[in-house]
């Protein structure tokens, strides 16, 4: 056990926790049944932006070594894994079998346990929903030391769904069976188009998404005036063998995921400022084709352009950054537009802005997605950011929307309650399985969960 300073991917609010790396069930169980006064939380690859995977003064169970692939059923098709395995490793193992994960978020560097705890979504949310929808079953270690096997329809569906999106506060997922999708290739057929302004973008997404499995828009929040919200939409589907270049048809499932360098240390000051972010926004828009259809892209190009640069969060300097991701219902286009205008007018500039239209929500009480519009922005911590984000919170609450807990690092208990009307359902389950509050994190303290 070592005491270390942990923070989320945004690098804000570091705190000290005792890190335990359990390799057997007995260690895990005793960590839960004989906790210290400040409790225990599980941690995977630390890609949540805020404070859910750290536990100041308490214990953090690093489960990245708990990563075996236990069983593959190529006919179902499903895979059973230990929850500490990364989606990257799992994908690399499944692709040669012609199998693909049903939900892949914006980075492959997350664990399956983390994907369940945050109920992550991907570019196909409008078709396939969030991660929890594809969990066939999971074995959950409870604070009591008992292991329960959960399914969406089993004896305790409330606990199953509270665990999806429950930020690790209902137990520790030991193993899980996930439904997979058959694919012919590791590539995607992608259509790209630019839209000159926000209204066109929203209209294009509302009318065109149904034709694609995957859809997302990169979005400029720094240009004001008539070009506000100019964007690049990329949409696609899994490629079939005949879509590929003839030279690649003999090995269609090859998986190239290059990492072309990493940021070696935390820069002394943020490299992301108004100037560089504006330049990045302008360049990204300019380099995209006005309209191109049928381009074949690999996984990294299409899904994970940021995975090419390791530790890119270090670019934001020692003060770190906040990612703010919110969703508002379909009908609340006006609120969405107000939020975008508020960001553009604030002088806080984000270089990575992703917009998507979500499909139906999951049954999980703390799951983030709901049918509507979601936007994620990365904002360096600068004076006045608190006022901007408080203002956005108010807009989002007013519109009946919410922020994503995997990204949040600053909202308040009162605001959370207004964003998640089913919060009490979650808390009822949490108090049933963890009456003494053994499972605790900085996030649970901050948000009074």
């Amino acid at each position: 056990m070592t005491r270390s300073i942990l923070s989320g991917w945004g690098g804000t609010s570091p705190s000290a926790s005792d890190i335990v790396r359990p390799t057997d069930l007995a260690t895990l169980r005793s960590a839960l049944t004989t906790p210290g006064p400040r409790g225990v939380i599980a941690r995977g690859l630390g890609r949540s932006y805020g404070d859910p995977a750290q536990n100041a003064g308490g214990s953090v169970l690093d489960l990245t070594g708990w990563d075996a692939i236990l069983d593959v059923d190529v006919h179902a098709p499903t895979v059973r894994v230990q929850a500490g395995i990364s989606l990257d490793r799992l994908l690399r193992a499944m692709l040669p079998l012609g199998l693909w994960l049903p939900v892949v978020p914006g980075t492959r560097q997350v664990t399956v346990g983390g994907a369940i705890a945050a109920d992550v979504h991907g570019k196909n949310h409008h078709v396939h929903g969030s991660f929890g929808r594809h969990v066939v079953s999971m074995d959950l270690l409870l604070p009591s030391g008992d292991v329960v096997s959960l399914t969406p329809e089993g004896d305790d569906p409330d606990l199953f769904w509270a665990t999806c999106g429950g930020m690790g506060l209902t137990g520790i997922v030991l193993a899980t069976t996930i439904r997979l999708q058959p694919v012919e290739t590791s590539s995607f057929v992608v259509d790209t188009e630019r839209t000159p302004d926000l209204a066109t973008l929203l209209e294009r997404l509302a009318s065109g998404d149904d034709a694609y499995t995957y859809s997302v828009a990169w979005f400029d929040t720094s240009t004001r005036g008539p070009s506000l919200g100019r964007s690049v939409i990329t949409r696609g589907r899994s490629a079939r063998v005949e879509d590929l270049d003839p030279s690649r048809r003999s090995h269609p499932l090859d998986f190239a995921a290059p990492q072309r360098g990493r940021v070696p240390f935390i820069l002394p000051t943020s490299a992301v400022n108004r100037l560089s972010a504006r330049a990045f926004n302008a360049l990204w828009y300019a380099k995209a084709p006005r309209h191109r259809t049928g381009e074949v892209q690999d996984i990294t190009q299409f899904f994970h352009p940021l995975d090419v640069v390791g530790d890119w969060n270090r670019l934001y300097g020692p003060r770190g950054f906040c990612q703010y991701q919110f969703v508002v219902p379909d009908a609340e286009v006006a609120a969405f537009t107000s939020a975008v205008e508020a960001i553009a007018a604030s002088g806080h500039v984000s270089s990575l802005n992703v917009l998507k239209r979500f499909g139906p929500a999951s049954p999980a009480p703390l799951s983030f997605p709901m049918p509507g519009w979601t936007l994620a922005v990365d904002l360096p911590v600068r004076p006045g950011l608190d006022a901007l984000l408080d203002h956005l919170d108010a807009l989002v609450v007013e519109a009946g929307g919410r922020v994503y807990l995997a990204k949040d690092s600053r909202t308040s208990p009162a605001t959370l309650r207004r964003m998640y009307p089913r919060l009490d359902e979650f808390l009822t389950v949490r108090r049933r399985v963890d009456p003494h509050g053994v499972l605790r994190s900085d996030l649970s303290r901050r948000l009074d969960l």
Partner: protein, 250 residues
Amino acid sequence: MINALGAPQHLLLLGGTSDIALAIAREYARVSPALRVTLAARPGARRDAAVASLTAAGCTAVALDFDALDTAAHGTLLDGVTVDIDVAVVAFGLLGDPEQAWTEVEAARELAAVNYVGAVTTGVALGARVRAQGHGVIVALSSVAGERPRRSNFVYGSTKAGMDAFYTGLGEALREHGGRVLVVRPGFVHSRMTEGLDAAPLATTPEAVAQAVVEAVRDGKEQIWVPGTMRAVMSGLRHLPRSVFRRLPV
């Protein structure tokens, strides 16, 4: 917990009736709508008034008995404070009569006991709390008077020099435990403590100090001067030859 943008949920004021401490609480009340404040001070009308003023500002204010001179009680001072302390402000101190302070034993002892010994013993208690909770920011109100002793108030200056060094070192010690210390060096502050004194150049207000503290905590700073220009001024003054320094009207 303190959030990513430096808004705490629970603030502890040691010397909770000081003008600067209360200004800091009011400043935080603006960014943390449901702020809880623990006011550690001697019981009495001043403390009651401070609790009432913070309650009126929208905080949940709770009083805690604290006497800077009662060092024997400092070890257990925080035992009754069960909520995590996100930001603790060490704001108690005496200015005293500067001539008595270097000519009368009792006056000198009291100044040293409150400003230095009391600051150190409460610092030990705060350090223990930060280690246990794995996070926390301690704001120590030092003074530019501690940077270079001058004839006019060197006993006060010496106590601030000592507490400044202690909290600077405490900040280093608490780094690996998730804690952070911000040492604040204001110049002359118009407050109850300096009432009736002639203001020095670059004089500031409790509100300005409070604003600077809130910003510095948010930005993760470990040492600030208020006003910011004081840093350059003190840097210059520190290097003046004594023969010149003693002629300055400071």
